[in-house]
Amino acid sequence: MNNYKKWLTAPGTLTLLVFAVAPLFIMLFYSFRNDSGVGFTLQNYVRFFEKSFYLKLTGRTVISSLTVTVISLLISYPLAYIMAKKLKGIRNIVLMLIIIPFFTNQLVRVYSWLIFLQDGGVLEEMLNVLGMAQDGLGILYTRTAVVISLVHIFFPYMVITIYIALERIDNALLEASKSLGASAVTTFFRVTLPMSWSGVVSGILLVFVPCLGCFVEPRILGGVDGMFIGNVIEDQFFEIYGWNFGAAIAFLLFAMVLVAMALIHRMGGEKQ
């Protein structure tokens, strides 16, 4: 019986092997292909590392993704803490309110920022009413707009992973720390933070990694200065038809994702 039953995993596993794992190898294969179509070459990779444009853009992508991650962490930790330790009755409602936008369309959310941030748009009107009048906000089509929208899209991940970690901490431990004479600050850094660290690490993973590979938000909100490395890949496939070169950059991005995941895991996500 059990021998048959284990084969039930086959259809799902095969689907993933064929349509998720195998394509990555095909991408690797293309990245070594010569544009003339014969033989293999390192030229696609050499081209990437030769031009400072690509390296600079990669650098800016990493820095922007780090910025998004840090801002997300700074706003998420207090929120998760309040939810886990202070709220009683409305806790689950707040939790749902944080989760709902995650399941709304990515493009719609980006588009909503386009409307909101545009010059003469609603944000400008709101600031006018508050007396912080400024003709022409000038936020749209900058890197700032991209960072704002990425924080908006990804910080709920961080809130939830940290909240789950904080929820598990027994309040008696915090009281014990207090009654043994530790100040609030000491309790936070010696008890609360270490015990919720796994949530912080999973949150960082869930925010930083998707930011590295984003291209829709920079394209719509970023203007010329706000581009990410993903946009260069997109252009290679849709505008320039440099598929082999595009595959090489995509593979480098994939490698960056793997390295980032490994580094973040080493920060201690798995230890409890």
């Binding site: 689907t15 394509p23 202070k86 369309n105 291209f215």
Partner: protein, 265 residues
């Protein structure tokens, strides 16, 4: 007390940040102006225009169709997978499970274009088969996570009791396992449906020429100048997602958060 008020104010601030842009967009779909600016004059004209916009209506139908097929496939594949992985142990179990959720941690850009390269490597034209394949691999993890959480909570003693009372494996499955998994199958199916319905990136890379989905229509209207009905469409899309989420939320309650934690409660 003061502390509590401050906490609530902070939460309010975050929720404002989260909801204001979306709320403004929904408001603008009822606004007379075509430039998404104030003043606000109530009007339903964009919804009426939407009704007559055959491109958008076709795109809506396509999106619903793709998401429906994806949802069904994900429930079937996901259910089979979690049932099978019950009897697998040791390192294979870990390997299989982490492979199942792998598409969650790889940017969609990479998943989409590597599938595009696969189509190219086989010297095929873009086709619906690969659209479905792409949508399934990125939506399947959600079904699997929900189903896995449910099946772990089930008591295996029930299976044994059923067997010792003389039920064969098929009867046990039909009368015991399936009814207990059913809520998770519905929740997982709706989640996968929603992921597919909302997906832009995979469709962008794989959709054959001449076929369009709602997210693709939204993107091209942003790119090539505004179709004012887009606000109305976006509001409808948010509505559809909310309905799905309400179903999922009603079934899973606050355990919905476990999805963000790799299925661990």
């Amino acid at each position: 007390m003061k502390n509590g008020a401050l906490s609530k104010l902070y939460i309010l601030g975050i929720l404002l940040f989260l909801y204001t842009p979306i709320f403004v967009l929904m408001l603008m779909s009822f606004n007379e102006s075509r430039y998404n600016t104030l003043p606000f004059v109530f009007s339903l004209k964009w919804y009426e225009a939407l009704k007559d916009n055959t491109t958008l209506m076709t795109a809506m139908n396509n999106s619903l169709y793709i998401a429906f097929v994806t949802g069904i496939c994900c429930v079937i594949l996901g259910t089979l997978f979690v049932l099978g992985s019950q009897v697998i142990s040791g390192k294979w179990k870990g390997l299989f499970s982490s492979m199942m959720v792998m598409p969650l941690s790889i940017p969609w850009l990479i998943m989409g274009l590597s599938l595009l390269l696969m189509i190219r490597a086989f010297q095929m034209d873009k086709n619906m088969f690969f659209v479905f394949a792409g949508h399934i691999i990125i939506s399947l993890p959600y079904s699997v996570l929900v189903l896995q959480a449910r099946i772990q909570a089930l008591d295996s003693a029930l299976d044994e009791a059923s067997a010792s009372l003389g039920a064969n494996a098929l009867t046990t499955f039909r009368r015991i396992t399936l009814p207990m998994l059913a809520p998770a199958m519905v929740a997982g199916g709706f989640l996968s449906f929603m992921m597919s319905f909302d997906n832009f990136v995979i469709s962008y890379f794989l959709i054959p020429a001449g076929i369009t989905t709602l997210p693709i229509e939204i993107q091209s209207s942003i790119k090539f100048g505004f179709t004012p009905e887009i606000n109305a469409v976006s509001t409808l899309i948010i509505g559809i997602s909310l309905v799905c989420l309400a179903v999922v939320g009603a079934i899973m309650g606050s355990s919905l958060k476990s999805i963000f934690n790799g299925g661990k409660a």
